[in-house]
Structures are given as C-alpha cells and as structure tokens.
C-alpha cells in the first residue's frame, strides 16, 4: 500500500513538473457553488464539472463555496480578477451588489464564464416563468456548426435522461444558440425547440451556457453523457481563450445513440487495445471505433500509422486475444497494414476459425 502511495505522489510530482516544463499556463478557473434547490444536485454537478475540466489538463480548478442559503451574503465578494474563467453552478440568494459589479467588471475586461444549468444571470433570482420538463432522453441539434465550441460536432446527437429548461432569459447582443432540443409535451415540455448550448459575447468577455447535465439521484446519466462532458470542456476553453484546441473525440454521441462516460474520462490507448483484445460478439464495439478513429487521425503520418499497426499486431499475436478480436484487427489491417503485419497475418492462416479473415486480408494487402 505504502509503495502505491509513493508511486502516486511521484506521478503527481512528475505531472506537475511536466506542466511547469511545457510552460503552457493552465487556465485559472474558479468554480462557484454553494446554493441550489437540491444540495445533492449542485454538489454532484460541481464535483463532476471539476473532474471534467481537470481531465483536459487545460484548467487549474478551485472550488469556492458561498455561504449556505439564508445566511449572510454580505461578505461574499471573491476576487474574480485572479482567474481566467469562472464556472458558475449557483442558484440561490442574490449576490451583494459589489459582487455582481465585480463579476460584470471581470467579464467586460475579457474574463470567461461558464454557466452550468443557470436559469438566470449569476446572483440574480430565477424568474418564475422558468420551468423544466420531465427527465427523458432527447435529441440535441447543433444549430451553429462553425462556432469554435461546436465545430466538428455531429448535427444530431442523443442525450440521456435529462431535463430541458424552458424560458431562460437570453437577453443581450450576440447571443448565439449553438444547440437546441425539441421539448416534447409528452414530457411536460414546451412543445418547441429550447436552447441547450448558448454562447454569448459580453464586453471583452465570453459566456458559455450549458443547460445539459443536470444530475439525478439515480443513475446520473445526464452528466455522464459524453456530449455534455465534451461540450463543457470545449465551451470552457472557448470562454477562457476564445478558441478551442481540443479535438472532437470519437465517442461523441450521434443520432444512433447516447454515449456514457461513467467516470467522466475518455478512452486511453492502452485501455483500448486491452479491451479490444477481449472482444466477443455482443460486447461493446467502442474500442474498435476508437481504433478506426485513431487510424483516420494518423492518416498521412507513416510513423503514427506504424505505431498503431504494431499495437494491432500485438493483439494478433497475443494468445490471450479472442478470435473475434483478431477478426476485427485483420479487417483494419486489410487496408492499412504494411509489410510489418504480414508475418503475423500469415501466422494466423493455420487457425481454422480465422481462415476466411486471413484470406480476406491477404487478398487485399496484395
């Protein structure tokens, strides 16, 4: 156990040193929370948001708790100017005037803001006209595809077990509804499309609003949705810097179905090849899709392609790999493979269950 702790500490130090060496400043981020209708909801959401942002390696996050609801708010006056980005997960008592003023000053001078499920401007009361639908799966439609946040996203994607908020006031110039969801009356909806992702320029600053990801006490699929996670990561980077450097991941949901990231993290290479090696009919195809996306990403880069090919050959030659996994790998190698994979492919020709797949691969590789 002790050894494990030491290795974790060492790893953490290494990461810190690497960050220092690269010289890329992390985006200083303050997550403001502390009040909301349901303590569980905002606490879960705040923790999720921190983890989701930290996952990118782009943000240095801190959480600031306001006084609890009904307590004295007069001393709640954070120094926003120390931060590049504010993430607001707060719905409760009004902020003191000076706090609201310094918030406005922060934005006007170019600060970035992410509003998580906010039904009103920070520190202002929620209008009584705001309602929410029942929780259900729904389709999100990307409305503006050429905004940095949404560039490269599918036009249609499914989002699981969430509420749709109706009637959020969206005042101000340059409000862009990046994505919307039709709120079906079957689920106490408004019967019309409602904004779910909004970008807004204010003064020199930028505000990104996401209405997705309201956690629940049950499975919490809404905030585990890869679509919520990725748009939050991209929206936060855009709000802080005006651009998005993160690639759209292969597991972004589509019209075909929802995609969950139960631990909020994306797929890592080693994990993917390991899981791929144990593929059986009926199990997840996520790791094959990951591989295909990596091959596509590596196009034109022979070194990167060869690295992938080597990993694929490892799966082929690993006695622990399943027959079905080998078939998937052979199918990819059949078009992208080089001389490197030939011995491994030919070596499988004597396995009766792989005879057809090997034949297919060798015919194509000719």
């Amino acid at each position: 156990m002790k050894k494990r702790y030491i290795s974790i500490i060492l790893a953490a130090m290494l990461v810190a040193m690497m960050a220092a060496c690269t010289g890329t400043e992390k985006i200083k981020t303050l997550i403001i929370t502390g009040q909301g209708k349901d303590n569980f909801v905002w606490m879960t959401r705040t923790q999720a948001a921190q983890q989701i942002l930290d996952e990118t390696g782009l943000f240095a996050t801190n959480i600031l708790m306001s006084p609890p609801q009904g307590q004295d708010m007069s001393q709640f006056n954070p120094d926003f100017s120390k931060y590049d980005l504010l993430v607001i997960d707060y719905e409760g008592d009004a902020w003191p005037k000076k706090t609201t003023a310094s918030y406005m000053d922060f934005v006007n001078k170019g600060g970035g803001v992410v509003m998580l499920n906010s039904k009103s401007d920070p520190g202002t009361p929620v209008p009584s006209t705001v309602t929410v639908s029942k929780r259900h799966d729904f389709e999100v439609r990307t409305r503006i595809g050429n905004h940095p946040v949404t560039n490269g996203l599918p036009v249609r994607w499914l989002h699981p077990k969430d509420v749709i908020v109706h009637g959020t006031p969206l005042a101000g110039e340059d409000v862009q509804i990046l994505a919307s969801a039709f709120s079906d009356t079957t689920f106490a909806g408004s019967g019309k499309p409602e904004p779910v992702l909004v970008a807004r320029n204010l003064g020199q600053g930028r505000i990104f609003m996401t209405m997705l990801g309201t956690p629940d006490l049950d499975e919490n699929q809404a905030s585990q949705c890869a679509g919520f996670i990725v748009t939050l990561q991209r929206g936060a980077e855009w709000a802080a810097t005006g651009k998005v450097t993160q690639a759209v991941p292969f597991d972004f949901p589509t019209a075909a179905g929802t995609v969950l990231r139960p631990d909020y993290t994306g797929v890592e290479s080693d994990e993917a090849f390991e899981k791929l090696g144990s593929y059986e009919i009926g199990s997840s195809t996520l790791y094959l899709t990951w591989l295909q996306s990596q091959i596509r990403k590596a196009s034109g880069n022979e070194e990167a392609l060869l690295n992938l090919e080597k990993k694929m050959v490892e799966v082929l030659t690993n006695p622990a790999s399943t027959i079905e996994a080998k078939k998937l790998i052979l199918n990819e190698l059949s078009w992208m493979g080089t001389d490197y994979c030939m011995p491994a492919v030919k070596g499988l020709g004597s396995v009766p269950e792989l005879e057809d797949a090997v034949d297919f691969t060798l015919k194509r590789l000719k």
Partner: protein, 437 residues
Amino acid sequence: MSGKSSRRDFVRRSAAAAAGIFVVPTIIPSSALGMGGRMAPSDRVVMGAIGTGSQGMSNMNDFLGLKNAVQFVAVCDVDSARLLKAKATVDAANKNTDCRTYGDFRELLEKEKLDGVSLALPDHWHGIIYTETVNHKLNVYGEKPICRTINDGQTIVAAVKKNNIIWQTGCWQRSQAHFRRGAELAINGRAGKIKLIEVGLPDGGRGIGTPPAMEVPPELNWEMWLGPAPKVPYRGVAHWNWRWILDYSGGQLTDWAGHHIDIGNWGAGLEYTGPVEISGTGVYPPEGIYNAPVEYDFTCKYENGIEIRVANASRLKMGMGTTWYGDLGWIHTDRGNRLTSSDPKILEEVIGENEIHLYKSDDHWQNFVDSVRTGTPAIAPIEPAYRAISVALLGEIAMTTGETIRWDPVKEEIIGNPRASRLLSRPYRKPWELPTV
C-alpha cells in the same frame, strides 16, 4: 371478362405456336423464339425475380400493375417465407399455381427461360448476382446502388456492355416529370454555368446496440444470405436493416446515392465521368452493430471545375434532394413533386428545339418493358448508375481513410494511394468469386 382471361392464353398460344408443339410445360420467353431478339410490342415480357423482400415485391407489383406487359414465372429468395408470399403474388396474377420457386439464384438462372430478371438484393450480393444474370444474357431491372464496391461496379458495367442486354436501374426518380424537368433546366444552363451541386440524403437513425448471437429463423438460409460476406453469427439483423452494416452496405449514403446523386449527374452532364478529387468527413456511431456513418459531408471536384457536395440532409440549407447552383441562380428538386428555383421564372423557361432534351419516361417499369420489346436503351442504363454510386463509394473511402482521394475517372483508379486503393474491393469469402465477364 374474356379480355382478361385471354392474357395467359395468348402467351401460351403464341409460345406453343412458335415452338411448334402443342403443349409447352413452361412459358418460353418471346425473345427466345427466333424473332431476332425483338419482341412483338404486344408480347408480355417473361420475368423472374431474385430477391423478394420489400423492394423486390414493390418492383414486382409495379410490373404486374402494367397492362399486358409482364408475366412472372419464377421467384428466388433465401427466405422461404418470403418466397411463398412472392409465389402467391405471382400465382394470383397468373391465375394458376405454376410459379416456380428457388432458394439459389444459380438454379433459377440455369433452369428458367426468361426475357428479364428483376433483382433486389442486399448490396453485398450485387457484384455476383448482377454479373451472373447479365452473363446469362438476360435483361435486368436491377436495384440501386448497383454495387457495394467500385470493383464490383466495374465488373457489372463490363458484363452489361459485353452481353448487350437491356439494363434498367431502379432509380425511378428519372421517370418522374419534375426530376427530369429540373435536370433538363440545369443541363441547359437555366441557372447559368453549374458550379456546385449539393446532394442531401437522409440522416442516419437510431442504432440497436450490440445484440448477441441468436438462433437463425427457420425460414432463413443464413449461409446463403451472407454469401460472399464474412461469416458471422446471426444477430437478428438480415432483411432491410442490412443497410446499416458496412459488410453489406454503406448506410443512407449508399442507399440513396443512386437517386439524388444520379439526378445531380443527369442535370450536369456528369453521367459518364467521375470526380478527380474527393475529401470529407463522416460521423460514425461510437457503439453498436450498425456501423455505417450516420452523418457524412464530402466534396467531389470534377475536371471541369464543378463540385458536388454530398451530405446528410440536416447539414444542408436545402435539406433533402438535389440542388444545382449556377452563376445565375439555383434549381432544387426533391421527392414530393418538389421543383423550386432561385427565381420562379427559371421554372417557366422553354427548352428550345436545338437544346438538350433528356430521355423521357413516364413510368420506370413500363420503360424497361418497352426497352426490352424494342431493343432500345432504357432511361437508367448501367454506367450512370455506376458513376452515381462511385461518388458515394469514393466519399466512403475518403471518410474511412481520413485522406483526400485523387481519382482517375477514365482509368477508374485511385492515384498514388495504395491504402485507399485496397478499399476499392471487398474480397469474397470462399467459395464465392466475382464472375468473370
């Protein structure tokens, strides 16, 4: 009515007389009776059907709905339940119980004496069955897309050219007045010089996850359904939904390419050529047995400067259909009798005597029958169908590889990209092979 009952008798009588025997056990096709390959205009075209699923039966009913045009005598399917239904339809039309049934297309092609065959099968079977049918010198009404791979398509085209048969592709939009009118306005420059064609095809839909292997329904010959495709256990997906799995098809993109891309090519004079450069992206479902792209957006550049953008409809301003953008305006056409333009006056334009007049057909199935009877080409010959699906298949290759593909539309090969070139074919599982022409 005597007129009605005389139909079958007429065919039997004329067949018997020509064959010089009193009774014939089967109906002999008129074209096989030494009339120089030409039929009397009144003779019915004797047909078989291979593939009797939803599209196969839809085509059969369209043929049977024509007046004194077609007589089906044999049907083939790998699903015995569908086969019986198809036989029942044919027998009801023929008012007998003579329709012969086959579970193997090779047997039908060997035993039957036919004028033509209606083919409607999953795409992965097209290369073999289309080529084999044409090699038997039979006229074909064949469903789009005519091939799963470019290599399959090249073989089918070569077979049709060599055997000199009548080929009609199932791209029936060509036989609808508004599509033809849109294409004719476009090709005659009524929107100016065409710069861009946008083609909107359906978005992909919901997946079904990753079902486990399950028992094959007793009526389905699964091994024969798979044929040349990789051997996999049955997982509840065969009829219709094969189109969402890449081993068999390419999703909505390849399913619809034969319609709206074909119309786009028709109205721009690109029916007998292909693009020179193709690039774009696809959105693939991260998870599930359905692995065809649910969104796609790629652009093809042609030698003459025209670009074709093909995308799922939700990505395009005009949505579904074909839009020709010229330097003077645009013309859009889609199903549901839609024909619109940037300026309504464009649609009122008269096409002059010396301008281009596109082939006119008011009924796609009647057009096939007429072509078989007269020996003249049908409205949707093989090569335009091949060129239309090639656009989608080259787009698929660009999306799969993540690369910009350079294509030689004359030699019909990918230039300088061995990896992408491998995707021009899908090797067949033994013992199946693409027939030689």
